[in-house]
């Protein structure tokens, strides 16, 4: 048993696992993790696909620059990227100040340590991944097919829905899987932007392992995280295989 510490009985871990799956607080953490990861996955695909399509199809010489700008954040430290949101969403942050000065609210609202903050932070983190996965899928589709569909009288939206999206589905599925798995396991973002009021599985795991030194619970949390990630990547390769044979 890989996750079992040498000095903790395996039975104890499964006992904790059983408790977690019935305890309301632990269930809330699991639910929050899955819910936020799903939201981030949808947002990243909805934003990433059009960007990838535009980057792959635009004849503009600027599209190379924009592609580089989209990829560059992948090389940049997550801590640095997430830190920016502290400046924007913090109690004396830019967004709160702006809302007050525009007269939309009287007192700057609590933006940090909310679900919104985590969603923004994770979207920033994983949008480049979604763009790259979709980009390589769109780049493989012959632009002539778009033209043919348009030439045969298909509207722009119809062409998108019945030609481009079905052909790029494998890339979209890969993008969604990477974003979901990344969001479930990300630590820096929920730690800095969610704090202790918006615990996710990763911050919960670290809390068990380091603050409360409860190894059985840490291992049980690790198991839940791993199962979630494997479940989704298994599901996506199943969809991918089905798509390849049909």
């Amino acid at each position: 048993m890989l996750f079992a510490p040498p000095d903790v009985a395996t039975g104890e871990i499964f006992a904790r696992l059983g408790e977690m799956l019935t305890d309301p607080y632990d269930l809330e953490v699991i639910g929050r993790t899955v819910g936020l990861a799903l939201a981030v996955t949808i947002i990243c695909v909805v934003l990433g696909f059009p960007i990838a399509y535009w980057l792959a199809r635009s004849p503009s010489r600027w599209s190379g620059v924009f592609l580089a700008v989209a990829i560059f954040p992948l090389m940049l430290s997550n801590v640095v990227r997430t830190f920016g949101w502290l400046v924007i969403l913090g109690s004396k942050g830019a967004l709160g100040q702006l809302l007050v000065q525009l007269g939309i609210v009287e007192v700057a609202p609590q933006l940090l340590y909310t679900k919104l903050a985590i969603i923004l932070g994770l979207t920033q983190l994983f949008l480049p991944l979604a763009i790259i996965s979709c980009y390589s899928a769109v780049a493989q589709v012959d632009p002539g097919l778009d033209d043919a569909s348009r030439g045969l009288g298909g509207s722009r939206i119809r062409t998108m829905w019945s030609v481009v999206i079905p052909l790029t589905m494998p890339g979209i599925v890969v993008a969604a899987t990477l974003v979901f798995a990344g969001s479930v396991t990300a630590y820096t973002t929920p730690y800095l932007l969610g704090g202790s009021s918006q615990r996710m599985l990763s911050t919960q795991l670290f809390n068990y392992a380091s603050t409360t030194v409860d190894w059985a619970s840490a291992s049980a949390t690790a198991l839940i995280m791993t199962v979630l990630v494997f479940l989704v990547s298994g599901l996506s390769s199943l969809i991918g295989r089905k798509g390849a044979t049909s």
Binding site: F3, V69, V79, I131, V184
Partner: protein
Amino acid sequence: MKRPITAALAVIGYVIMIVPIIFVVATAFTAGSTLRFPPDGISLRWFDEALGYEPFIGAAISSLELAVLATALALLVGVPVTLAVHRGKLPGKGLVEGLFLSPLIVPELVVGLALFQQLMVGLDLDNFSTLLVGHTALMLPYAVRVTGASLALADPALEEAARGLGASPLRAFFNVTLPILRPGIFSAGLLSAVTSFNNVPLSLLLQGRDFRTMPVTMLDYVQQSYDPMVAAASTLVLAATVVIAVIAERTVGFAKIFGGINQ
């Protein structure tokens, strides 16, 4: 704009990706002592403080050591594996490939926990050795995928030709295969060094008092004090990353480096 919806979504996407980074840089140059916006005046004082803050400097050096060593080890193991997978007739090729590519989807925090329990508690290894094992394992997929992508583009007939012309297997490797692989090895090394330097989840549970990594030290600092010094340190990390990115773009090209990951 012919596609208003696409344009709007693209703008939102780029704003979310880029604007926070701009705010980090803007805050780093403040003369005031809080993370507020707009900043109170312009100064370089927080850069001075960050460069004089011993924990940051020590952690940056530690992270650099770890990144270089882990990358070297990952390449040393990964390049032969790549060759075996792409050129050799290996039994269970798919399994080997799957094994070396798998860590990209395994939660790093969980790997960190497992390594902590098995190596540090179980085998009594020190922080640095455990971190090195973890980072090397994490970097292996990059080494295998990125060098594999450049190898897949090369014609195996070249090596056969060298062998046919009388070169020994070693000579053929060093004179033909290695030069073909060089851009792949370079980009794999660059990518894995950057990834190792930036890693938080794996290092989190494995670092100790005597060995702390840069991103985790920054994370701890942010949690304790709310001043712009981390913004300055972040800006320095950003500047270094931009330099590396420009080198990568000029030598191999971004698309090739990251294209290798998605294949």
